[in-house]
Amino acid sequence: MSLTRTLTVVAGAAGLLALGACTSSGGATGSSTASSSAGGPIAVKATDNECGVSSATAAAGTITFQIQNTGSKVTEFYVYGAGDRIVGEVENVTPGLSRELKVEIAEPGTFTTACKPGMVGDGIRAAFTVTGTAQPGSADQKVAKAITDYQAYVAAQSAELLSGTEAFVAAVKAGDVAKAKTLYTPARLPWERIEPVAESFGDLDPKIDGREDVVEEGLPFTGYHRLEKDLWVDGLKSDSPAIADQLLADVKTIVEKAKAVDFTALSIANGAKELLDEVATTKITGEEERYSHTDLDDMKANLQGSQSALEVLRPVITERQPDLVTALDQAFTGINQALDQFQKGTTYAPLTELTPDQVKGLTVKLDVLSEQVAKVPGVVEAGAGGTPTTS
């Protein structure tokens, strides 16, 4: 997980030629305004069975390929990194067309070039060597700032989790069921915002947040959901105060441990995605809060946690894929508006009050968001190489 690696596709082909621009002068694409640091574009002669790359090596930096298709099939040109990860590609190079591809490779290494006549198969491949090291991109500082920002967010949520749980536990121990019920949800919201962090401590998560089925794994049923069941279904029991004490102790431990977590841009991005997976698999299904039905409150907290994680990454994403930032903003707006219809004061309607059509409406918006958020880890980890910019 190198934070310094920067592989970025700079620009697409210089232009979409008028179709049928089939001239012997090679079409009129890119006048190569940005000639590569290696000294001018590398010519690629692509036919139905050949891929002639005029140079098999280049210096790190912006590398420009000029692809001319003199064959009879539509072709594509790729620059691959290890494991066939795409560093850059240009597609739909029709016969007679000439198109340009620029890739930015900051570090030395061995890559692979490939023409793919007919668009299928492994393509006609050759090794391509990059030498030297380019100036690092500004994204590295942005990543470092994102990590600091996210640590601060987790610290703030941890503090809120601790104080909220202290109040909730006190009400349970005082036998005040009505008060405990009102404090249950606020105590859990910060938990739901940073759940992927908490879940990384495998043994504590089932103690704090396990459902009744943890007994199938030989564990006692403890934590928030045991108290949820007591409060909403069974009434407080003789061991409820002890369960509450244990919950608070476990929460204190996890808050302490959270301070020591090392985040990376990738782990923050993956956490943002995992929060939405939580919504899809445990909230919208009513699985999580099966006694209190406060799933929509949790869902809001999951969304807030996801959005906050992405907010610290915004400068990184903006630099590498600005379109994605716009799409994320729109998708968050969409689901937040859909969810907020069910807001009642400071809380949300019980999930059980929603009609199947209303649940479907939320699911549709969640799918929109999840598709976009799923793209973020690849973008922050690998630059645009993660989700190739096509030309």
Partner: protein
């Protein structure tokens, strides 16, 4: 600069040596050509079949694995010789933003064209995004041949409301189908703003196409209903043998065939004169009628052979019209049997559906058999997913179905529980996208 490198071409075909279909069994199409397909064996070819008009998009492909051209005057998947498998999906548009819808149609066109040549839905879609990227192609068709995939789009009447400014562009023939006698329609299996029909000779290829199309559409469209078809029930080309439906009878003997271009022009393609003015985008298109027809196969299976044959009006083994010997003999509706009753009963399906009894109405049928689990009371939920392509549904499908719904004795064994109508725009020209003339 070093010398130009020109490595030897690798075969741009999927590396897989074993056809999925080879593992799954011999397709009906292979049987036509008389070529046995075995494990890892060569692909079936249709070389023995009659050659079709070279210029026609209906030209039989050289192999069941070969690609079928995506672009052309008409969309593929209509007069294309019917592939063995189908996955059909109806979608509702969930945005009110016309630009988003247009953008999706462009993305769909690109992905569909790629998939029809056997390529990933996006370049490097399976692994090219690297270990931390989400694959842009779902991968289950990676390495499979093109398998004759066609992807066909249609626009439902509901798309032409006030959301996208298309109300004035609606062709007059695109009207929601009327209710028919005996209909038992399930709204969750009916209608839709859009449809995508994916047909292929490998079910995995068809499902892959729909799955990736749906995925590209999140935020713009949402799945309304979906139907798998596991076996074609129509032949749309003289190069194909007539398949059987789940009643065990040959279906589509008298279907329109791609090799009859004049008939296809008369009965399938919308002409320029049909769609004057704002609806001119539809010229060269056709209307797709979809009906999910549940068959009470358990009841049918307890019906004796003579009753079955009298219901259909054809013999079960050969598919010959009753009173005749061969499948392609013309039915003689005046012919009397030994009992002096009509050889083909007055309420037989063939009689009621025949063009000679419907003022010359013909339709292009392209349906598929389905079995969707059970009905929950101990029976298979099986039947025919009927698809027909017509030039004007109100003049062709509607009167035909009204005649059948009123009298057809087959109604005792079937019920229509899903229904939809879509306008399939003409084919996509080079550089164009699905529906470009409509959104221009």
């Amino acid at each position: 600069m070093t010398e130009p490198t020109a490595p030897v071409a690798s075969e741009p075909q999927p590396a897989s040596g074993v056809s999925r279909r080879g593992l799954l069994g011999v397709s009906a199409g292979a049987a036509v050509a008389g070529v046995a397909v075995g494990f890892g064996g060569g692909y079936a070819t249709r070389a023995a079949a009659a050659p079709a008009d070279e210029a026609s998009p209906a030209t039989a492909p050289a192999s069941l694995d070969a690609p079928i051209p995506f672009r052309g005057a008409h969309q593929a998947g209509i007069v294309t010789p019917a592939q063995d498998r189908m996955h059909f999906v109806a979608l509702d548009v969930v945005t009110k933003d016309r630009a988003q819808l247009v953008d999706l149609l462009k993305k769909w066109t690109r992905a569909a064209e790629r998939m029809t040549v056997g390529a990933e839905a996006a370049p490097g879609g399976v692994v090219g995004g690297g270990p931390y990227g989400v694959p842009q192609d779902t991968g289950e068709a990676f390495g499979l041949p093109a398998s004759g995939l066609t992807v066909t789009i249609g626009f439902g009447p509901s798309l032409f409301d006030d959301r996208f400014g298309l109300a004035a562009r609606r062709p007059t023939a695109l009207q929601a189908l009327p209710a028919f006698r005996g209909d038992d329609l399930d709204p969750t299996r009916s209608g839709g703003d859009l449809c995508i029909q994916a047909c292929a000779n490998d079910p995995q290829v068809a499902v892959h196409a729909v799955r990736n199309v749906v995925r590209l559409g999140f935020g713009v469209v949402s799945v309304r209903w979906s139907q798998l078809g596991f076996g074609r029930t129509s032949s749309t080309s003289t190069t194909q043998a007539t398949p059987r439906n789940l009643f065990g009878f040959k279906d589509g003997t008298n279907n329109l065939k791609a090799e009859e271009p004049a008939e296809i022009d008369d009965h399938v393609w919308v002409s320029t004169a049909d769609v004057p003015g704002a609806a001119a985008w539809m010229a060269g298109g056709t209307y797709l009628v979809a009906r999910r027809i549940r068959m009470h196969i358990e009841v049918w299976d307890r019906t004796n052979l003579q009753d079955q044959q009298d219901t259909i009006g054809r013999t079960k083994a050969a598919g010959a019209p009753l009173g005749k010997e061969k499948e392609f003999d013309e039915p003689d509706f005046a012919l009397k049997g030994a009992d002096n009753e009509p050889a083909i009963p007055v309420d037989a399906h063939v009689r009621l559906a025949h063009s000679s009894n419907l003022n010359g109405i013909k339709i292009l049928r392209r349906g598929y058999n389905f079995t969707d689990g059970t009905d929950g009371v101990g029976h298979l939920d099986a039947g025919l997913f009927f698809i027909a392509f017509v030039r004007d549904p109100g003049k062709q499908f509607v009167p035909m179905q009204q005649a059948l719904a009123a009298k057809d004795v087959l109604n005792e064994y079937i019920e229509h529980n899903g229904s939809a109508l879509f306008a399939c725009p003409p084919g996509v020209a080079e550089g164009g996208y699905w529906g470009d003339a409509l959104f221009a």
